[in-house]
Symmetry: C2
């Protein structure tokens, strides 16, 4: 059997794919659109065909493919059963994409995982968490994703809900009217995601007359908030502080449950860099009273490739069991 | 080598000990006082001597002892290093009770764990979580203890803080003045422990003139609160409801991090039985929106023996690795 692995990161718009060796060398990476006609029924066949085609183009024999890992944007069980994948369509509901993909790839081992968990594994293997085994990844993008890695392995959870920190309810007073995609209110995702930070900038501007460079912008983004905060804009500093305080509280909860060595912070918001880490640390450290040691904080390093790396790593580990 | 294991549950007042087979048959159990003279330096030698003496009395040869497990009331690392054990004394600080006990027992394998985690493992093995592999134990006693078991193993955490759910800050408004033992305010332990429930009964009585049978009691306990609530006393119902709402919120957080199959509720407060489980479930289920499935709830079954069983199981697993 070969030592080439396919890493597949299935998203709502595109599928990111890569071919890797078991020593983490990325041979090729590419993308295909996520075809949603037919409710998404073509997605898995498209992936299988694309892997075969790209292997051929790379001059790799199909027999060298030792396994494939698949990250999906939904809760997926250990056995590959997928309850629902809201971002794709009814064709990916109550089905088993892992078995389907394996079948289409000649029965090779395929392992599936939730996309956020899979990206976390990638960051542990070759990214911001390299060298650690107990890692929690926090992705601050359109939403807030999370992935818990303990002793080097994904904590998927009994219903695929492991690491779903974006839906921890952090604001029980529900001061705001907006309902989260999940149906609750006050979720971490509504506060600490790029969208949440931008929305809170609008709320802070509406609720006071304080001058701010943010008021000159047509449409405020999380990036604007952090840029202005770094430049000393008081209102922007307060927005960043408010939103990251809630993130730190959620991270303290995570530590009180699984106590990771390191948190790896990724997603668009993490482009704010060391300023962001310092701000989170300022709120996080004082909450941890039970031990002298505090979890480390680091930035994610693999960007959009984290899912490809993590998916490959998942099936490499499975094979080495 | 034999198949007899010693399970040791070291507490602030007494040490509970047991001799078990690897098939969970409890041959003998007993207790000794926790000797605190000398800051607790005699505790580990006392345990070793007591195991030897009881084996002799039971007619078991010392060579049949295959290992010992040790639960301690403090954060203990995988290698046995204990940072601090506040309930015992300075003689059990910055030391390694696991190595010490192994040395005193002729070098047999010894495995250490935090007492709450070890009790959780016991409940998974032979108690309320029997038949499950992803179990979170919640102990509502003087404090609130927690233990996270994933895939059958304790999640100790990188600094021994795994499962420390009692110190999740649940009330960020810090409406109350009292500071938790950990130094924070608003910890779950201050609300949902037996002590916390009793204190909240006093707060609720102070803050209104509502009649309640609790007002006739000299000193209200958590048991009084649940007895009165079961009998339909409105104020007692509200106290129980308030305290268990916060517990359910913390349990939702736990589910969003590790997504267990089942929560096992133990400790003195759990004597309120099915009424307690129903009340927690009423608050917990609506918070879980991401999956149709909800974690099961069950009562702990082993009582004070959970630590003995868990400690033995811990070293049995270690030996079978």
């Amino acid at each position: 059997m070969g030592n080439i692995y396919a890493g597949v990161d299935l998203g709502g718009t595109t599928v990111k794919l890569g071919l890797l060796t078991d020593e983490a060398s990325l041979i090729r990476k590419w993308e295909i659109p996520t075809r949603k006609d037919d409710g998404g029924k073509q997605v898995i066949p498209d992936i299988a065909a694309s892997i075969k085609k790209n292997m051929e183009e790379e001059g790799i024999r199909f027999s060298e493919l030792a396994g494939a890992g698949l990250g999906v944007p939904g809760p997926i069980r250990q056995d590959g059963y997928l309850e629902v994948c809201v971002n794709i369509g009814p064709g990916m509901r109550d089905m088993n994409p892992v078995k389907d993909l394996s079948g289409l790839l000649g029965g090779i081992p395929v392992k599936g995982g939730n996309d956020a968990n899979v990206a976390a594994l990638g960051e542990m293997w070759q990214g911001g968490g390299k060298g650690y085994r107990d890692v929690v990844a926090v992705t601050l993008g359109t939403g807030v994703g999370g992935g818990v890695i303990l002793d080097g392995h994904i904590v998927a959870g009994s219903k695929g809900m492991g690491g779903e920190i974006g839906h921890m309810v952090m604001d029980w007073d529900w001061k705001e009217a907006e309902v989260c995609n999940c149906g609750n209110r006050g979720c971490l995702e509504q506060i600490a995601s790029a969208t949440g930070i931008a929305r809170h900038a609008r709320i802070f501007m509406r609720e006071s007359d304080r001058p701010s460079v943010l008021r000159d912008l047509q449409r405020v983004t999380a990036r604007d908030v952090f840029d202005a905060a770094k430049a000393g804009d008081g209102l922007a500093e307060d927005v960043a502080d408010y939103c990251m305080m809630y993130l730190a509280r959620a991270m303290a909860y995570v530590s009180q449950v699984v106590d990771p060595e390191i948190f790896v912070i990724g997603g668009g918001v993490s482009r704010a860099g060391q300023y962001l880490l310092d701000l989170i640390k300022e709120h996080y450290d004082p909450l941890i009273k039970l031990t002298r040691g505090k979890a480390k904080l680091a930035l994610a390093r693999l960007g959009n490739d984290a899912g490809i790396y993590g998916a490959a790593k998942m099936v490499i580990d499975e094979r080495e069991k």
